[in-house]
Structure formats: C-alpha cells, structure tokens
C-alpha cells in the first residue's frame, strides 16, 4: 500500500510545491494538526453514542483534494510515528484509504452535490455532510476489501489465515456497519458544522466570495447547445450492429445469429449453451418503462431512440431542478 500511496504523495507534492513555501506551508501543517486534534473530540451522536471525526470532509473542501491528501497524511503519520496509534507498517494503507481515497471522494461528492447552489443554499451544508459521510465510508470499504482479500492471499498449510482472518463476506459488512452509522455520522456532523461555521465567518476559505454570494452560477449556453446536438445524434446508435457486449437478454442465447455475434465479440469464446441461471432469474425483476429504448407506440426506431434520450435527459434535469428547489433557503426562486 506504500507503493500505491507513493505516486499520489509525489503528485500532491509536485502540485503544491510551487505554493508550498508561501502561505500553504503553515496552512497545511496547521490543518494537519487541527485534523489530529479533532480526532480526539468526542462527538455526541443521535441515539446516545459518541464518535470521532477525521476531518477529511472539511479538509477536502477547504484545501482541495491534493492539499487535503497531504494534510490528512501528515496527521496520520504523526499519529503513527509519534503517538504509535496507527502502526508503521499499516501507515501506507491508512493513508491510501483515508487521506487519498477519502480526500478525492469528499471533494468529488461536495462538487457534484453543491453544483449550481447559491452561497447561502442549504444544499452546500448537505453537500459538506455527504462529503464527510461518503469519504469515511469509501475509506472503510477500501479497508474492508484489503482485509477481506488477505485470507485468500496469505494462509498456512492448514488453512489458518496469517494476517487478517475474515473473508470479504464478513469484512465488508463488519466494517461498513460501524462506518455507515457511527463513524460516518460523526464525520457528517463535523463536516456540516465546520462548513456552516466557515461559511459564516471565513467564506473565502470554502470557495465563496462574499460579494458574489447571491449569484447563481449559470450553465454556459455552449453546454446546452452541445447537449442538444448529442440528443439529436442519438439515432446514430441504431447504425451499430449487434448487441452491446455484456448487455445480452435471455432470448439472445437461443438465437444462433446472436450467439455467433457474442462469440466473435468475446474473442471466439463460445457463449454457454443454456441461459445462465442468474440472468434467467433476474431478467424479469425490473422492466424498463421504455424497453429497449423504443416505446411500443412509436413505429420509427430512430424517433423512438430520440424520444427515449429526451425523456432520460429530461428526467435527470427534472430531478436536479427539484433538488435545487427543495434545498434552496427560504424557497426563493
């Protein structure tokens, strides 16, 4: 895991090196120290329990993914080296899961959920909470996978695991149970709370200019134009022959022409003689509202394609619009 983390640290250092000897140097160190200290805060959670936050959510929002990656790695290194709380051999894995993957997950979630939100929008607070919650759970999932594959890779002649003893089917639920509830909630509460505090007192730090706080970022017209062109071009999809690889229906396994196409697309590997039992069982669980992208009442396949694409895009835009209305403070337009 050190080998996996090293390129990320190197890139982060390269990206921040130019700024590292300006204000960024003390800012990174202090943020790392702040993260370390907040790890000791006992945060009361709904239900009567307490949890600890790592601070990766707010670090990613304030410092960006690369700065956050460095700051959280520093905090974990101090914890492992100086306080002996993390372990030296596991430091690489801890940094990869929490500092690297956690920072990128938090930053990505915040960017997506807060897209187009005004400075005062409650959606930004929700985005900060989700960023912290998502980051911790992504980290926990990665750790669970690293634990879970160890019994397969390292065991002695009698079958006794040499390192982590639990397979994936136990490691994943065991890790996620605690993180989806207590640890995730602690991180969400801390991220949202600190974000609200910073927005009120240090708005520039969370990327909000006080002067432009009321201006809703506009989607560029060129983006709408490109989206319209892509929509109009969707019927081109019917020019492609055969079924998409891996998107086969049960009936495709009975059709000799489709079987030949599957074999060619699968590098001459013959498809199974019968429909795979899992596919047969699950094929009818969910029937799409627009099966095969073409409604039955539409005779023209190309027009059906276009209509389905417009419906899909409209549905997504509708959900985003409703989300914006719901999370806008005071229901203002």
């Amino acid at each position: 895991m050190y080998a996996a983390s090293a390129p990320c640290w190197w890139t982060a250092l390269r990206r921040t090196r130019r700024k590292l000897f300006g204000r960024t140097l003390p800012l990174l160190s202090l943020f790392a120290a702040f993260s370390f200290v907040t790890m000791m805060f006992n945060l009361p959670l709904p239900g009567g329990t307490t949890g600890h936050a790592v601070g990766v959510g707010i670090a990613a929002i304030v410092l960006g993914p690369w700065g956050s990656l460095l700051a959280i790695s520093l905090a974990l290194t101090i914890q492992a080296l100086f306080f002996g709380d993390g372990g030296i051999t596991t430091l690489g894995a801890n940094c990869f899961n929490m500092a690297i993957a956690g920072s990128f997950a938090a930053w990505g979630i915040y960017q997506v959920v807060s897209l187009g939100a005004t400075a005062e929008s409650r959606r930004r607070v929700v985005a900060a909470a989700l960023a912290g919650y998502g980051a911790i759970n992504v980290s926990a999932l990665l750790a669970a996978i690293e634990f879970g594959i160890q019994p397969m890779l390292f065991h002695d002649a009698t079958g006794a695991p040499l390192y982590a003893p639990y397979p994936l089917r136990i490691a994943i639920p065991a890790m996620l149970a605690g993180h989806l509830t207590i640890a995730g909630m602690a991180e969400a509460v801390m991220s949202a709370g600190l974000f609200s505090y910073l927005r009120r007192n240090e708005p520039a730090l969370v990327g909000i200019s006080p002067l432009a706080s009321q201006v809703l970022p506009q989607v560029p017209r060129r983006l709408w134009g490109a989206l319209a062109v892509v929509l109009l071009l969707t019927p081109l999809g019917i020019l492609a022959s055969g079924a998409a690889w891996g998107e086969w229906a049960p009936r495709d396994f009975a059709n000799s022409a489709t079987r030949a196409q599957i074999a060619v697309a699968s590098r001459a590997a013959a498809p199974p003689a019968a429909v795979p039992s899992g596919l047969a069982r699950l094929a009818n669980v969910w029937t799409a509202p627009l099966p095969d992208y073409a409604p039955h009442f539409v005779k023209s396949v190309a027009f059906g394609y276009l209509l389905s694409a417009m419906f899909g895009v409209g549905l997504i835009l509708g959900v985003v619009w409703i989300g914006q209305r719901v999370t806008r403070p005071g229901g203002e337009p």
Partner: protein
C-alpha cells in the same frame, strides 16, 4: 451537558500531552538505544518491524517481542509503563478483532462450546494468536523508536529513507502545532466546563462540540497567517536547511551488525 463527553475529550487531550512529555523525557535517558545514532536506530528497528510483519511463525514473533523487551530494559524504559501504554491497549484492540475469528475460521474443531453449536477451531486459534503476536511485537518495536529518540532527531533521520525535505519540514511544523492546538483545545474545553451549570440536550452538545471545533479552526487559520509572517520576517524565502550533525561511532557499527543479524534471522526463520 453530560460530563462524560467533555470529560472523555479532556482525558484524551491530557493523555496526548502526557505521552509527548513522557517521550521527550525517556528519549533523554542514558540507555542503550538512546546512545545510538538515530539513523541506525530508525533503519534497524524498522527492519525488525518489517521482519515481524513478514513472519509466518509464532515463535519468531514471540522472539522479536522478547528482543523488544530486552531492548526496553537496556534503554531504561519502565516495562510497566510500556505495558499500560502499549501492550494492554494493543492486546485489547487486537483481541476484540481476533476473538470472532476463533469461531468463524473454518477448520478442525478444538473445543466445542457447551451451549449452541459454536466451536473454536485449530485454524481460528492459530490465526488469532498470530494476529495478536504480530501486532504486539511490531507495536513494541516501533514504540521503542519513538520513546528513545527526540522527535527532531527522528525527523532528521527520515532523510536516510529518502523522505523529501519538504515533508520533514511539514512533519516538524505539524508536530509543534499538534501540541499547541491540543493545549488550546484543552483550555477551551476547561473554560467552557467551568462556566456550565445543568445539562445540555444531545443537539446542544453536538452544537457545542462543533462550534468549539469551528473556533479552534479559526484560531488555527489565524495562527497560520502569523506563522507565515514570522517566517517571512526572519528571512524565510523557501529554502530549507536541516542541520545534520549525526556522526557514526564504533558502537553504531556494532548495532548495525546486530540489527542486520536479528532481522535476517527473523526473516529466514519466520518463513
């Protein structure tokens, strides 16, 4: 506010500050490991930690743990303090993780519980013992490094592992501010606790903790600006120089041989 949450947080701060003081004090004792060059100690103890991580045999891990105990005694470290700070904490944490493996690992039944159909398997017991022994030996050896080396010497020694100088500066600054911010947070909680009468609801408790975190973050950022200005005022222009005054002596060469033999033996015997 329930006294529990704030008291536990304050206890955490006190423990962290106490560990810092203990480490600085024990690093200045006149013992075996304290007398070694920090670079030799860093590389040597890390080699032993890695050999403990690679070992597949219980007796090798126990031997490395025993070596750690001998080095601790020779370095005038209290075994009781080591037990309280490291061994019992690691044992409790690892045993909690390892306990279900006794029953969940498939294999030959070693002991069948009188109630229910659960059985401890040979493979489960072996796996749990390996996990505990590995963690205990690795944590003991890495704690020896921290307890016998002043922090700034340890950081300078990291240069031998090709750690970039920027990272060392960042680690040095981070460590300094960890201590400072822990003291600041401690004072903030103590002053809040001394002004508090009655109990707070769960929501109010969360609000208090998050607000304290926010104020601490504001203080952190303000301090960052002050530190930057102080660095500028003292002539900092982006160049970092570490004073490297380490000198290898005869005793260090002997220690290099000792660490190399111990680590190589553990790797070969542990396979």
């Amino acid at each position: 506010m329930s006294a529990g949450v704030m008291a536990r947080t304050l206890r955490g701060f006190t423990r962290a500050l106490g560990q810092t003081l203990v480490s600085e004090h024990s690093a200045r004792e006149s013992g075996l490991l304290q007398a070694l060059d920090p670079r030799v100690k860093l590389v040597g103890l890390l080699a032993l930690v890695v050999s403990a991580a690679l070992a597949r045999r219980l007796k090798v891990m126990v031997a490395l743990f025993g070596l750690g105990m001998v080095l601790a005694v020779a370095s005038r470290l209290s075994l009781w303090a080591l037990a309280k700070r490291v061994w019992l904490v690691a044992l409790g944490f690892t045993a909690m993780i390892a306990a279900p493996a006794l029953f969940l690992t498939p294999g030959v039944a070693l002991y069948r519980l009188p109630v229910g159909s659960l059985a401890i398997t040979v493979q489960g017991a072996r796996s749990a013992l390996l996990l505990i022994a590995r963690v205990e030996s690795a944590v003991t050896l890495s704690t020896l490094l921290v307890l016998t080396t002043p922090w700034m010497h340890l950081l300078k020694a990291l240069r031998t592992l090709l750690v970039p100088v920027e990272v060392i500066v960042l680690l040095a600054m981070t460590h300094r501010y960890v201590v400072l911010l822990t003291e600041t947070a401690n004072q903030m909680f103590e002053s809040r606790q001394s002004r508090m009468v009655g109990r707070l609801s769960g929501h109010q408790q969360r609000r208090l903790m998050v607000n304290t975190g926010g104020v601490l973050l504001s203080k952190t950022l303000e301090m960052g600006n002050q530190v930057f200005l102080a660095m500028q005022a003292r002539g900092f222009r982006g160049e970092v120089r570490l004073l490297s005054d380490f000198r290898l002596r005869g005793w260090d060469y002997l220690a290099i041989c000792g660490f190399a033999v111990a680590a190589a033996t553990a790797v070969v015997a542990g396979r």
